[in-house]
Amino acid sequence: MREVLLVAAKDLRIELRSRVLLFQVAPFAVATLVLLGFALDADRSALRNFSPGLFWVAVLLTALLAAQRSVAVEHAGRAADALLLSATSPARIFAGKALALAAQLAVLEALLGVAMVVLYDARVEHFGLAVASAAAATVGIAAAGTLYGVLAAPMGVRETLLPVLLLPVFAPVLIGATRAFGDALGTAAVNGWAWFGLLGLFALVYAVFGALAYGPLLEAEA
């Protein structure tokens, strides 16, 4: 566990020092939400009704940038080699990097959540469900993003290849999280906790698959 936290702390420290999350990714996230508002002709009732889906589209597009960034820091100066030489198991490296990505996404989601309330006039009716489903979705996105990020990493085409690989994988998260948020925000008459279960299952599958597959992937890179 200590190694997991060390890897996560390393990534978070890099983000704190480089300020890429603050000055580049966060403005991109809010700009996405604004553009989606224009796409719906700034119709207040439509925006409120569709706010769960628009919120998660913005989160997933932002997650692509964050996942790319998570891999890019390992390729700058071949830091990945140093990570491998540290004798930390690939599963723990994966868990650490996914944890750091999840923490960054949580910050971005909080920011987007405030922007959604302000810009789309959304009202949270079931706060517990919103937080629980966002947490489950975030773990799933972070696990899949970390795994697929390194899958598309070393070939000089990461910016174009990663979205192609990752967006179809994110489709179940978008569906589940939109339904769960629809219940939490009172815009859809569905059982949000059932969708929370699906999000939890997705997170579990990708966390286990990522921990198992990360070793062979790092070996392929070495």
Binding site: L161, V169, A213
Partner: protein, 283 residues
């Protein structure tokens, strides 16, 4: 399978690759595909009746009418999409376990055919949906949407494979993606049972044999013909992948030989220049 495709799994030396993609087996399969296709066309367009039943109003008829003939391609293509992508996932898993290039090429070949068949499934489904569901695309149908996600996932797999990289690294990354994408196959296949109220697709009529005799026969014939076709192009694509790897490897060897020859020329020129210098310094 290995008898048809080539030597058994393991790290066969590249020099033992076939010189072309045709063989006696592929010629037999090719002829069988053509003959089967003619039979399928006859059954689908001439012998089998259109789907038409008496409607609730007196004298009215309901059903899919001639659009049902699209099912003889759509349904077999869907079945062999699952098989091809399932085979890709299986071969990818075995590759990660055994690390034999044979499995990597099998995964590549079956994924390419699987994506092609998945596109055929989606296109024929859309053409069928226009007169029957009155729309090209139905977002409310869970199987339609999950099939598109499956198509995009394995299109991503092919995109990953097309990026130049060291063969071993590319094979390993692709294998992980191939295994990961397989999660979707049972979801797509079982979606009409799991989300009964979220689909316009009919449930498995073939399992319960609830369709007319000749229609059922044509459907089974379509599955068989598509199966032979799948095997036929799988063998060709597998051997082509082998030849591609040979060309890639030969290209690398040629480039290395060229560089060595250049280095040899430079050394010889250097030695020659040194000799002239010595000669020039001689009295």
């Amino acid at each position: 399978m290995s008898i048809l495709l080539g030597r058994p799994p393991g790290d066969r030396p590249p020099s033992a690759a076939p010189g072309h993609t045709g063989s006696r087996a592929t010629r037999i399969l090719g002829v069988a595909t053509l003959v089967g296709l003619v039979g399928l066309c006859l059954c689908a367009f001439i012998f089998s009746p259109p789907d038409s039943r008496p409607g609730p109003e007196p004298g009215s008829r309901i059903g899919q009418f001639d659009a049902v003939r699209l099912m003889y391609v759509h349904f077999p293509a869907a079945i062999w999409t699952y098989s091809a992508l399932g085979l890709c996932a299986l071969a990818s898993g075995v590759y990660l376990w055994r690390r034999g290039v044979w499995w990597d090429r099998l995964a590549h070949a079956s994924a390419e055919i699987g994506v092609l068949l998945c596109a055929v499934t989606l296109l024929t489904g859309m053409i069928w949906g226009r007169p029957i569901w009155n729309t090209w695309w139905e977002w409310g149908d869970v199987r339609v949407v999950t099939t598109l996600v499956l198509f995009l996932t394995y299109a991503g797999y092919l995109a990953l494979r097309s990026v130049p990289a060291a063969p071993e690294a590319r094979a390993r990354r692709s294998a992980i993606l191939g295994v990961g994408g397989a999660v979707l196959i049972p979801i797509v296949n079982r979606s009409v049972e799991w989300w009964e109220n979220r689909t316009l697709h009919q449930q498995s009529t073939l399992e319960e044999l609830r369709i007319e005799d000749l229609t059922l026969f044509t459907l089974v014939l379509g599955i068989a013909v598509m199966g032979v076709f799948f095997l036929w192009i799988l063998i060709h694509r597998f051997r082509l992948a082998w030849l591609e790897a040979e060309v890639e490897s030969a290209g690398l060897e040629a480039a290395l030989a060229e560089r060595r020859a250049e280095a040899g020329e430079v050394a010889a020129t250097g030695a020659g220049a040194g000799g002239t210098g010595e000669g020039g310094s001689a009295p």
